[in-house]
Symmetry: C2
Subunit: 148 residues, 2 copies
């Protein structure tokens, strides 16, 4: 095989796509895709609710993308929008009881899909991969902030 298939950028796109595909398939029975699942996770882990702005920042999305995600989760009864007591512009997204239950099942499915996709790596190797990606991601957000 040529040099292209050993390029880190190429491999990242390939592996990322594969993991997203596998995770989407695993979450389908819960009526979720990875993006929705990510938002649900943040809502469940924020007992006091989380603003859509914060969701967008953490997930690296544009705030306008979050609107549709929360709309669909709310329509499915998994989250609710509540006005923020301290800032009437902001709406806090909170998970419902049903949302938390779905989240538990979805987390198990997502973890299984991810482990399947990464089955060729040992536990230690996965941890190395995670640490390296984490550092790259962190420096990327630094750069983004630097240009603001």
């Amino acid at each position: 095989m040529g040099e292209l298939t050993e390029d880190i950028g190429f491999l990242l796109a390939r592996v990322s796509g594969e993991v997203v595909r596998a995770t989407n398939a695993a979450l389908a029975p819960e009526g979720l895709r990875v993006r929705h699942y990510s938002v649900l996770l943040l809502a469940c882990d924020s007992p006091d609710g989380i603003s859509q702005r914060a969701v967008a920042r953490i997930l690296g999305l544009d705030p306008s993308q979050v609107v549709a995600l929360v709309d669909e989760l709310a329509q499915a009864g998994l989250v609710q929008r509540q006005p923020a007591p301290t800032d009437r512009r902001a709406k806090l997204v909170t998970a419902t009881g049903a949302g938390c239950r779905v989240r538990e099942r979805a987390a198990a499915r997502a973890a299984e899909a991810e482990q399947g996709a990464l089955r060729s790596l040992s536990g230690d190797e996965r941890e190395v991969l995670r640490a390296l990606l984490s550092r790259v991601a962190e420096s990327a957000s630094d750069a983004a902030y630097a240009f603001e």
Copy 2:
């Protein structure tokens, strides 16, 4: 930060998106995006030409996606379609002289963008990352073949 931002799948999507974005921006002056660049690379590295089917298989794309990519590269005068001498169904994609020259410049730009995105990793660490991703990608294609 919560557990989500330390999930390997999340980090893969985040970092991959960042690298693709940076590479697309770096390739823009050459009128290319990463997909077109990948096809051009394969054409340049295949002196006798490469079938669109092979391009699709190597890049992990559907053959129908390759059509538009080759169309645009051909319209820009960077590649040509030639009938395969041994199989009249197949068309071999070959790079033109202009295509090879653009490829050289594009390769330098793409490498620079990638190094920028991965600047927080040492050379050794990048090699570790590359090797781990390569193994994951390889096992993924094994699984794909297993289901065919």
